[in-house]
Every structure is written in C-alpha cells, then in structure tokens.
C-alpha cells in the first residue's frame, strides 16, 4: 500500500518538476522585453478597441503613444481630457488640443421625402447595395437604410428610426470614434464640432446632382442655389458641385442660413423654438 503512495508521489512530483523546468525554459527563451509604460498607458485608455484613433485597438494605440515622440496628433476620441492628460504625464510628452466632435447624419431622405422607385430584394447590407446600384430611392447619394452604421457602433449611440428609415445619433453616447463614418459606403456621416447644448446646424444632404435632378429625387435635397452662401456673415458656407457645405469651425450658429433654404435642407437642431435675429456665439 505504502509503495503505491510513494510511487505515485514520486511519479507525479517528477512530472511536475519536468513540466516546470520546460515552462521556465520556454518562458526565458521567448521572453519579450516591453516598455512598461505601454501597460500603464493602456490602463488609462477606455479598452473599447473601437479603432477611432486609427489604430487597430487600444494596445496598438498605447504602443504608438509610447513610441512616437510628438503625440499631438494622436487622440483617443473616447477618452476625456483628464485621462489624456494623465497619459501625457506618464510619457512626459505634450498633449495636443482636443476638440469634442459628434457624428452627424447628412441625409433626410425619408420615404415621404424621397419616394422609393424599386424594391430591393437581397442581403441587408449598405455596401452590397451601393456597389450594385443607387438603392431603393432615385438618389444616388442618399442613405440606403440598411443600418451598417448601427452595426458598426460600439457605444449604442446610433439607431435606425423606423419611420424615417434613417439612422439617428444619440449625442450623449457618441464618442466620435469614426466607426460609423468608415462603415457608411456613401460617406453620409460626418464628424462635426460639438457645440453647446448639442446645438447643430448643417446641410443635411450630400447630393451633388444639379438642382432639378436632385429635387426630383428628394424633396429635401440641397439644390445648390447658393442662397445660404450669400446670407452667411462669416463665410462659413461654401458651394461646390451643386452642394452647400457649412464649415463647422467657421460657423457661429447664427441661424441666418436655415430660413433661406428653399428645400429645408439645412437642419437646425436643439435650438430654442423662438427665432432670434442676433447671432449667438458658439
């Protein structure tokens, strides 16, 4: 009986020892020396791995932060200012200035505005539709409504509105990680400067067709008439390829342009209902 006990103790012990030696040797052989600051920086990052910074994940971004000398171009769109400052302190480098951004959907072609011209019968994917044809509406620029941006969002900040069949961004949840912008095959979503009280004013259309054609396909299309350009006191609006664009950096939210638009393509969001004549500084 005692033989059995002793034997098993010896055998198991020897096996354990052998395994330990092998593990130790392998760990020595394949040991990778890493800058310990990478781990420290990664601690501060949100671990969302959204890719909004342009790197494949938080770890890769942390490595980039440690390796690069000038980190003023590197931003984590999800982190707040405090944690970025902490990272800068760990690394002893200068942090760039952060501008809060928010995703904005630049299409208002709901079915009542932009009538459907055909029925799409295929896999629900914006990418597949846009490579096949113009989509269910006549507008070759508009939203395809299959919600690839919704799938791309890691923060539950963008949802399809069942009535308009358009995606809507919840500003508080949006981290401006850029995932939806990349996901949209039509480049409809844009990251714009976040203003006070989430106020926004933008041209909700990216149609570059001539006015008549654009109007035929969608009632709220920008027809490139240029009225908004003339009325803007800050030269924030440019007209290119039959399409007006409001530069978020120049715009001071004076709201003069919106009433001018004959197709109501310029949207004002989160402003008080009563119209003010004077400019409100953003």
């Amino acid at each position: 009986m005692s033989d059995v006990v002793i034997n098993s103790v010896i055998i198991v012990g020897a096996m354990g020892l052998a395994a330990a030696i092998i593990l130790f040797m392998v760990a020595q052989k394949f040991h990778v020396v890493e800058d310990p600051r990478i781990d420290q920086v990664e601690e501060e990052l949100p671990a969302a791995n959204c890719g909004g910074c342009g790197y494949p994940g938080c770890r890769a971004f942390a490595e980039a932060l440690v390796k690069t000398d000038d980190i003023s171009d590197l931003h984590c769109p999800v982190s707040d200012k405090d944690s970025m400052e902490k990272i800068a302190a760990i690394l002893g480098k200068e942090m760039g200035e952060m501008k809060p951004l928010v995703a904005v959907v630049r299409c208002a072609g709901s079915p009542d505005k932009s009538p459907r011209t055909n029925i799409y019968d295929g896999t629900h994917s914006c990418t597949i539709i846009s490579s096949l044809y113009t989509g269910e509406t006549g507008c070759p620029y508009g939203c395809l409504g299959m919600g690839e941006c919704v799938d791309a969002c890691n923060f539950d900040a963008i949802h399809m509105n069942a009535d308009t069949q358009l995606p809507e961004v919840t500003d508080d949840l949006c981290t401006a990680c850029n995932a939806c912008v990349v996901a949209c095959p039509r480049d409809i979503i844009e990251l714009r400067k976040k203003n006070k009280k989430d106020r926004k004013i933008f041209v909700s259309c990216i149609n570059e067709d001539k006015g008549g054609v654009a109007r035929k396909n969608c009632k709220v299309a920008c027809i490139g008439c240029g009225k908004c350009v003339k009325v803007c006191p800050y030269e924030a609006i440019t007209l290119e390829n039959n399409l007006a664009y409001i530069d978020p950096d120049k715009c001071r939210l004076c709201r003069k342009c919106a009433p001018e638009c004959p197709t109501n393509a310029i949207l004002e969001i989160n402003f008080p209902v009563k119209k003010k004549k004077e400019a409100t500084a953003g």
């Binding site: 055909n118 994917s125 990418t127 597949i128 490579s131």
Partner: protein
C-alpha cells in the same frame, strides 16, 4: 471529342426562347444616349458639344489613357447635350445624347454586305484600327480589345480561343451571330490571329447549339488553322479561365492573366466587330441584343445601335408584360437588375431579360445545413459557405486567406444552395472589403 472543364459547374435551365428568331435590324429610335464610358477603364473624353451635328460612325469621344477606347456616334443627328445620364446601375455618368435625324454614315465606311475575305493589313494596322473603332470585349467584360491583342514583351501566345459558349441561360445573341454571320466572324478570327501572330485558333461552342456548330464547321474547312471545338453544356464554361481549361487543359494561375498559359480569349461578337472595323472601316456602334423572358410576346434578337433605350427594345419585342417583376441587363446568372427602362444599350449589353413577378423574389434563407453542395460546384475550388460565414462575421483575414479574390461571381453557389442562402452577396461584400484592405496595404 466533346470537352469540358473538370471542376464544379451547374446546369441551370437553358430557357433559350429566342434561339429560333433571326437577327432583326431594329429601326432607329428618336434619340440615343451614348455614355462616354462603355468599357472597363478610364472614361473617354467627349469631342463634341451641344448643337454639333454628327454622322453615323463619327468619333464623339476619344480614348483617354492606356486602358480606354474611342466612342462613336451610332446615328446621324444633332447633339442635344453632353451631360450626366442615369446608367444601368442608376448612377449618373457622363453621356452624349443625340436627337436622331437620319442614318447617314461617314464617307469612308463600307456599309455594303459584300464579304471581304482578303487580308491586307499588318498586325500593327489591325490593332490600330481596332482601337480606332472602339472595340471592346463584347461578352460582357468590355475590356478594350486592342490591349488584349497586343502581346506584351516576353510573352508568347500559342492559341487564340474564340468564346462562342454562351453558357448564360436565356441569351442567344452569340448563337444567332455564329449562325448568320459565320463567314464574317471567321475573317475576324483570322485578323485577330494576324494581330497576335499565332497560327492556331479554337472556337469553343457548347453542344446545345448544333446548327451553329455545323455552320462554323463547314466554314472552317477553308481555314486550316481554325478549329471548332464542341463543348459539353455546363455553366460557367463561358468564363475565360474555365474555357481555357476546357480547351487546352491548362489552368491559368490564380491572380494571373490567360497569357500566362499562352492563351488569349475573345468573344465571337468581338471577332465580328473586328471584321467590320478592319475590312469595312466600321466602328463599333451596333451589336446583337437578345430581348427575352417567359412572358415576352416575341423573344427576339435585334441588331441594335448603341445608345438605344432599353424601353424601345422591349417595345419592339412585344411590350412589357403586365406581371413584370424584374428586368435584367444580361443573363439570369450574372446579369444586373435594372431599376429603370430609360437606360441605353451599350457595347457590353448582350441581352435584356424580363422576369415575371412570381419568379423575381428570392426564397427566405434558412440555416446552412453544411450539405457541401456549394463546395462541390464551385468552379474555382473555393468554399462559399466558409467565405459567407467569415464575411458575415467580418473576419476579413479569413476571407482573404480563403482566396475570395479568385471568385468570379458566377453565382453557382447561390443557385445550388438548398437553404437559399445568398452566398454570393456575402462573397461580394467580402471581396470588396478585402480589395480595399489590399489597396490600403500597398500604399
């Protein structure tokens, strides 16, 4: 011996309703819309402006780069405008619209029907004339033909393969052309052989077209260097790589061109266009288009000028049936569904197929039961079920590793799937994403 390619393939219903109707000359429409990009490559540069008068066969847009070609007016009339028009995908692209007045051809074009067999041109002249005439691959790929006929340095062409397979169900334009314009086509093949400097050409035809086979075999007796090869009916035999495999037993390496194995493939209709261009000075402004469908009153084959609206063709074939569900530009396997009838016929339009409502919707997709039918029929030896799963879960590295870029989108996998899974949709999605990734990697 009847040959075919060994790997995969399917047998969809042939539905060649229009095989018995001879090619009819379609009267000119009131106006035509001629896109400046009817080929693969960079769009041509327009040479005309609003108000210009143009003659039939006059050049209206010129080649704008290496992979590009010329565009000619298909009618005589006044240029209405040079503007963006909706093309077959619904997107708006640059095109020239011309109001048709009459049909007066350019003076140097021989419009007679006399057969000109004598070949006087040298290789360079032939290639130049093909570029001048704006000839592109008319099987559907629309790759400029003069490039395919210029042999790159260091490569040697051993055989010219002429594609008369027409494996797409429903389409009959190539079939009718081989039957009715066989003599002209044969001269065209000779011209292409001169251009390439080869002394062997093989015309591949599937054995569901016995009349065309016997016609070409009779004509080929006069040409020692041209053979007619009968092939077993199997889709997608008309695909370039599969056809080369069927005829020469050689496999074009993945990601390479047919010239790697000493072969060049051209469509029968391209051969006819080459004959017209070189022997008759006639640019590519018309082609045979099949208009067909289960409920079409008169399934027909029309000789159509480029720029003619699709609606005009359907009208000529007896009008659009009541229960139309889908209109397809091309055949049912690889053709693209149209969302408007106002789009013009281009150099690559081989057929217009009208599908009834009852057959135009897909069955709802079920779970994959891993029956392996898609794997066994894939002519490229891929695993569609795996590509679909990887693409659905956005595993782009697997999509790339599993050679998705070899897929030629023949649609056989979607066709056979008993669960009605749209495999090809997902493979396309994977392909487009992977090619984006590959491009960004190169930068």
């Amino acid at each position: 011996m009847i040959k075919t390619f060994p790997k995969g393939g399917i047998h969809p219903p042939e539905d060649k309703f229009s095989a018995g109707s001879p090619i009819q000359e379609l009267p000119l429409p009131k106006s035509v819309i001629i896109p400046v990009c009817q080929h693969l490559g960079s769009p041509s540069e327009p040479l005309v402006k609003k108000g210009d008068r143009v003659k039939t066969g006059q050049i209206i847009a010129k080649s704008s780069g290496f992979v590009s070609t010329n565009i000619h007016s298909s009618v005589t009339g006044k240029v209405e405008k040079v503007d963006k028009f909706t093309d077959s995908t619904g997107y708006r692209r640059l095109a020239v619209s011309i109001n048709v007045e009459k049909d007066q051809w350019e003076d140097n074009i021989d419009t007679s029907n006399t057969l000109k067999k004598q070949i006087n041109s040298k290789a360079e002249e032939i290639i130049k004339k093909i570029l001048d005439a704006g000839i592109v691959g008319m099987g559907g790929a629309t790759f400029p033909s003069h490039i395919k006929l210029s042999v790159p340095k260091g490569k040697k062409v051993e055989v010219l393969i002429i594609n008369g397979v027409e494996c797409e169900p429903c389409l009959t334009s190539d079939h009718r052309l081989m039957l009715e314009k066989g003599e002209e086509m044969m001269v065209g093949v000779r011209l292409m052989m001169t251009a390439l400097g080869v002394n062997r050409a093989v015309i591949g035809i599937e054995n569901n077209k016995p009349d065309a086979i016997s016609n070409l075999k009779t004509i080929a007796k006069d040409y020692k260097t041209i053979e007619v090869q009968v092939l077993k009916v199997k889709y997608p035999q008309g695909a370039e790589k599969q056809l080369i495999k069927s005829i020469t037993r050689r496999e074009v390496p993945s990601g390479k061109l047919p010239i790697e194995v000493g072969a060049v493939v051209h469509n029968v209709e391209t051969a006819y266009a080459v004959y017209e261009a070189v022997q008759k000075n006639k640019p590519l402004i018309e082609r045979v288009v099949t208009v067909t469908g289960k409920n079409i009153a008169k399934p027909s084959n029309f000789m159509v000028r480029t720029g003619t609206p699709v609606a005009y063709l359907i009208e000529a074939a007896g009008g659009l049936p009541e229960d139309t569900g889908k209109i397809i530009n091309g055949g049912p396997m690889m053709g693209k569904a149209l969302n408007s009838l106002d789009v013009p016929v281009t150099k690559g339009t081989s057929g217009i197929l009208v599908v009834p409502q009852s057959e135009s919707l897909r069955r709802p997709a079920l779970n994959c039961i891993r029956c392996a039918k898609c794997v066994s029929i894939c002519p490229m030896g891929l695993e569609p079920y795996l590509l679909r799963a990887a693409s659905e879960h956005k595993k782009w590295d697997i999509v790339e590793e599993e050679r998705s870029m070899d897929c030629m989108e023949c649609g056989s996998c979607s066709y056979v799937c008993p669960s009605a899974i749209p495999l090809l949709d997902y493979i396309r999605l994977g392909k487009s994403t992977v090619s984006k990734i590959i491009r960004s990697r190169k930068q």
